[in-house]
Amino acid sequence: MKAALALLRRDIELAFREGGAIGVALGFYLVVVAIAPFGLGPDLNLLARVAPGLLWIALLLAALLSADRIFHNDHEDGSLDILTMGPLPLAVVAASKSLAHWVTTCVPLALLAPVLGLLLNFPIDTIPLLVLAMLVGTPAVSFIAGIGASLTLGLRRSGLLLALLVLPLYVPVLIFGVSTISAAVTGPGSPWPPFLMLCAISLASMVLAPLASAAALRTSFR
């Protein structure tokens, strides 16, 4: 447990000190949302209607942008090999790295979402729910991205391949994430059932995805 926490702290510190990656993801998020009105037209009512979906899709893309880094640096400098031989189970290593990705990428993205929501005429009184749903749903994003990152470790064009492998798996997150918010904004029904589904998906992927990631990491060592 102590070792896992130390690993998590190391990864978070590395991500912040390395710089760049988080800023790039945030900038990408801003750019995607900012160019959407040029494609959809400046009608504020329309933008408010598509805002939940747009914010979620842009968040998924921005999170994927940095997902191939989850194991990449440690694979390149050999520290992943040492972690594999160390006392920690590989699944715990994978879990801690995915969690570090969540803390350093998904949380900042979710916190930026309200500002972007204002650009899209998103109703202000629903913004707390938007951030809450994103914070609750994005662990699934990071942990599933961890599977993709471990499968594509060290391959050519791994970023594009990662997106092709992982995006279909994000369909449930996207559906329940968006329906939580649109139920709160326009109805019908309460936002809590899809919100609870979102929690369930996140919890299930936090438990299951590290096992798949660890198995995938082992295939790349032989």
């Binding site: 599977i147 279909p168 798996l169 369909v171 449930p172 998906i201 032989r222």
Partner: protein
Amino acid sequence: MTFSLNNLANPSRFLSFAGTVIPWLAALTVILLVIGLYQAFFVAPVDYQQGETVRIMYIHVPAAWVGMGCYALIAIAALGTLIWRHPLADVAAKTAAPIGAAFTLVILVTGSLWGKPMWGTYWVWDARLTSLLVLFLLYLGLIALWQSIDDPGRAGRAAAILALVGAINLPIIKFSVDWWNTLHQPASVFRTDGPTIDPSLLTPLFVMGGAFLALFVLLHLIAMRAEILRRRVRVLQQTQVAQAALS
């Protein structure tokens, strides 16, 4: 020779088995296809509501059975690769993916051709269509992963993991998409209270189902044989290169 999966684990034995089975299976496929297509296009009655377009169903529904069953086959083969290290499981999964993708594409294309006269549009974002589209994307992801990894052993294991992740996710995707939107008709053939389709339509449907199943197994056996031979050629080439480098 007793028939068992362990017996077929030896690639040479599998090749001779495939060699004897393929001609018979090809004949069976042709016969079933001829009977099924004849019944579907000339014998089966025209639907009072859907008119002639009902005949698309005889391609669409069997393709759907095979296209979805194929993913189950890949998932089982993935277990075979990861747990039992069955030497042919990896070959079976790898060669099944493009065939499954092709059948899924047939489902999507025939479905949208049927949808144009019936629903007035080629594509609707209905739950079943959407989850099949996601299935198609999963097939594409599997194929892309196999293409990107050079070492066949690693490619097989990585794809097996991805296939299992997809197999766990498919019910969740199906459920969430159902939640999201639904318009497609509910299941009408396999129901606990018996099918709701008239027998005159059902017989050609099952013949076509048998034909598509035979077609799938035939294509799969041929593809597996080709893949085994391809791997042998690869090993031969590698030994030749190694010998040339040594001498």
